[in-house]
């Protein structure tokens, strides 16, 4: 569960606890396709993925984003998440290990609320970014 975060002691550059998802399996992609409603065959069927010009099935961008969501809600309770966005900058494949990270980029006071803007990212085992973005969370 989430810990209490002390706004006064937060500094730009501080890292929040990261999360490592090892060896993403095709089974997880299939389960996520069913649970998320994204049945695009590029996540399920190598032949179909290749017909679309991909090397094979790719991990759903939204699965990686969901992992990052867990990093955020592991740091502060979900009801403190105000908004976030992610850009899927490269593809992830079955077998990849994905590490999700967040770093304090800015401390903001908005509508009388203490907030922090985080730079968030997910990278593969080679250290290449597969997703980058920002998140705004309230620190109450």
């Amino acid at each position: 569960m989430s810990n209490i975060v002390d706004y006064a002691n937060l500094n730009v550059g501080d890292a929040i606890p990261n999360m490592v998802k090892e060896n993403i399996s095709r089974t997880q992609l299939a389960l996520f396709a069913g649970a998320s409603g994204d049945h695009n065959p590029i996540h399920l069927d190598d032949e179909e993925a290749k017909s679309g010009g991909l090397p094979g099935v790719i991990v759903h961008g939204m699965l990686t984003m969901a992992f990052l969501g867990q990093v955020l809600t592991g740091w502060v309770p979900q009801n403190q998440l105000r908004g976030w966005n992610a850009r899927f900058v490269s593809m992830a494949f079955p077998g990849d290990t994905i590490t999700c990270k967040g770093v304090v980029a800015e401390k903001i006071s908005e509508n009388g609320e203490n907030q922090v803007k985080l730079d968030i990212s997910a990278e593969n085992q080679k250290g290449d970014n597969i997703l980058i973005g920002t998140a705004v969370v309230a620190i109450t």
């Binding site: 569960m1 998802k21 997880q28 389960l31 996520f32 069913g34 649970a35 998320s36 409603g37 994204d38 695009n40 065959p41 590029i42 179909e48 993925a49 017909s51 679309g52 010009g53 991909l54 790719i58 759903h60 961008g61 939204m62 699965l63 984003m65 969901a66 992992f67 969501g69 867990q70 955020l72 809600t73 309770p77 979900q78 009801n79 998440l81 105000r82 908004g83 976030w84 966005n85 992610a86 850009r87 899927f88 593809m91």
Partner: protein
Amino acid sequence: MADADYIGKEYPSFSVDVEKGRIKMFAASIGEENPIYFDEETAKNNGYSGIPIPPTFAFTLTMEAGQSFNILEDMGIPKTQAMHGEQGFTYYDHIYAGDTVTGSQRITDIYEKKGGALQFIEAVIELRNQSDVHVADLRSVIVVRHNVEEQS
């Protein structure tokens, strides 16, 4: 190929029920173990009035309603040429199991990169719950890969 004429197009509104079982299934599929997504009592003890949806589940609600893919169909783009390029969420209030959310998708931008080899379609959806409370906004960018040589 998506035509710039689609910018501003609004698709018919949709309505989706937020199902408790689906939230659990989704949470399990991403390896989430926080009990607030699985147990109503725990959720209530943590300040929620019911089981909340995980942060990215709002996108699944829109997928459930056929959004995103409906744009591709409308524009005649094969799914296998499309990928998710960007996704954003802004939250104004909670979405809980048992809610019914309503929204409609609007194309806000279409642009190209790499000489037309990549096309970007941006769409936004505003979600409201059964009490007409504005609960969240979603912004999506779909990337379409075109084989420029084949088309020339």
